[in-house]
Symmetry: C2
């Protein structure tokens, strides 16, 4: 199938709503820019892509996304440097991953040219929404939903691919303490855990509410079979530092192959930090914490970049982590953000300029 990028239709807003937004006081994911990108799939192919004013969409109550959760998404960010240049960070990875997620959910893949053209035109139109300043960014949410009007449980014949954008400030979630899961699970072996499938997230809400009641902010999920191995958090991959060594779980069909995770592994190599990619027994981490050898736990993900973990709970015990002066997490965050904001050399070629 050949997709022609001369077709993109652009319908601009009459008047921007940017004046109404207080950029000093943004709640994550609540405010959206003036425009959105939309492309419908029907009759076996993706139709003419469009950029339109941001606004509600109409769906039949029988649209399959409501009933069978045929929906996948991505999360990426755009940054503005001091010269007003706009940068994305490894967008190719997000493009590949949304199609990998789609394939697992029997959703047709989205054409690469449409993705990049739509994304870049949208960012150029809404460029004033990307604020300068270390920590400011525009969070970008590509997603696909099944729109076919039919309540029989099989793959849809109609879909909607969209990109919406939300301005974001540096993410500070307060001190985060996590619970190691003993009972609930996020993903099955042979399931959809490696896909950014919508249903994976709702499944975590109830156990996370229970963890919150017990005084934690998030859960680190363990393998569903034995609950003996640590896997990842709800929207972050997880790294453990024992002594001077980093440990993180290998990706699998249960664990999302995070872009930030990959960067941390590469940066660690650059910094001569040893990284072991292998199963992470809960017992090893608890033991290391007891002996004072567990120096750090941190999460990696697009929204937070690097999120330090202040402590964890397992069974009825709680452990506090030391406050490290030479924190690995902090170094990675700093290096990553400097690359993202075009303030440091980009030797891996991760930056992608929108012009």
């Amino acid at each position: 199938m050949k997709y022609d990028t001369n077709q993109l239709e652009i319908n601009k807003v009459q008047k921007s709503k940017i004046e109404e937004v207080n950029f000093e006081n943004l709640v994550f994911g609540e405010i959206f820019t003036d425009h959105m990108f939309v492309c419908d799939y029907e009759n076996g192919q993706w139709q003419t892509p469009k950029i339109t004013p941001y606004g509600p969409i109409q769906l039949d109550p029988s649209a399959k996304v409501f009933h069978y959760g045929q929906a996948v998404f991505e999360g990426m960010k755009a940054y503005k440097d001091d010269e007003d240049q706009i940068w994305l960070f490894r967008p190719e990875e997000n493009y590949k991953r949304i199609n990998k997620s789609s394939a697992r959910l029997a959703i047709p893949e989205f054409p690469k040219d449409y993705f990049f053209q739509g994304l870049e035109e949208l960012l150029k139109l809404d460029k004033d929404w990307i604020k300068k300043g270390f920590g400011n960014s525009l969070y970008i949410r590509p997603f696909v939903i099944a729109t076919e009007e039919c309540v029989s449980a099989n793959p849809a014949t109609k879909y909607k691919f969209m990109i919406i954008c939300s301005p974001a400030q540096a993410y500070y979630s307060g001190e985060v303490r996590v619970q190691f899961s003993e009972k609930y699970s996020r993903a099955a072996d042979g399931g959809v855990g490696a896909a950014k499938a919508a249903g994976n997230y709702a499944a975590q809400f109830y156990p996370t509410n229970l963890a919150k009641e017990a005084g934690f902010q998030q859960i680190i999920w363990t393998d569903a079979n034995t609950h003996d191995y640590l896997e990842e958090a709800g929207t972050m991959n997880i790294f453990f530092r024992i002594g001077d060594k980093l440990i993180t779980a290998p990706t699998s069909d249960r664990i999302l192959d995070g872009v930030t995770r990959k960067c941390v592994i590469d940066l660690a190599k650059d910094m001569n930090i040893e990284v072991e990619i292998r199963r992470v027994p809960v017992s090893e981490i608890v033991e290391a914490a007891r002996k004072g050898e567990l120096k750090e736990i941190f999460g990696s993900g697009t929204a937070t970049v690097i999120n330090p973990i202040a402590g964890f709970g397992y069974k009825d015990e709680k452990f506090e982590l030391p406050k490290m002066k030479d924190s690995y997490g902090k170094s990675f965050k700093d290096r990553l953000m400097k690359i993202q904001y075009n303030q440091a050399e980009d030797k891996h070629g991760w930056r992608y300029q929108v012009k």
Copy 2:
């Protein structure tokens, strides 16, 4: 919280579209009746419920259902007897189950009075859509979706509860052959398999496509840990008959507690058929098939009632099942349908009249 059922607002269609429908040639789940039931949740409570003409709904592109799959549903049927009386079948079970599903997905429970009042008023308004005749029914789809406009991954503060209805004919899917899953999984231990969570269904589409390419119509899912035990199909619980004994897997947090399954177990008792509710090793079923002792496999579910399985595949082998004269599946289907259509005594009190 007290919910007042004097509030239901009803807004009828000007003109029914029933004339346009060919009731002799219905595809499952494609045509909907004139009206729908809608109730919104916001500010911490369910608002005034409404019955309105069936039609599209408007949602913000950031509505959480699209991104995090916070959505659950039910499936039930209404039947009309020869005296034009309308019957539901164990609707209390569906009401309880949707709230159980909701709880697991951190969705607020829906009030019982609203559910039954909405359901019954809707059926009375659209009663002409329920056709007489053994096998005809109105398929009823209650569902709840998260509508809050925000792309942060936590439970929504706004929801929409809806009921839509679709006329259905006797379900005949042709001969069904199933594949026993060796690699893919439907549900994790500690996951949401026991909930009718939207995301559980999309997760099955891709493996089911592979099974179809291999010549099967459906998959019987095995436990995600070992793939050694048979659990259930995509929208049916599964029974195996070895000799004169029935075997079915116990419900768990991976398996849906099917209403039809419960009825089959009760009817088997009535008929003095032995039922073992225990784990079902794949090896036992394959062995029994080899020895000619495996007499039947059938699925149970609201849409199909009882669905006989003609054969199965496991690893590279295919097995055909005998055509039984004294088929248990057929007896159960017959007994169940006679109760549903008010043609037989209802000693368990399963029928529920709408008047």
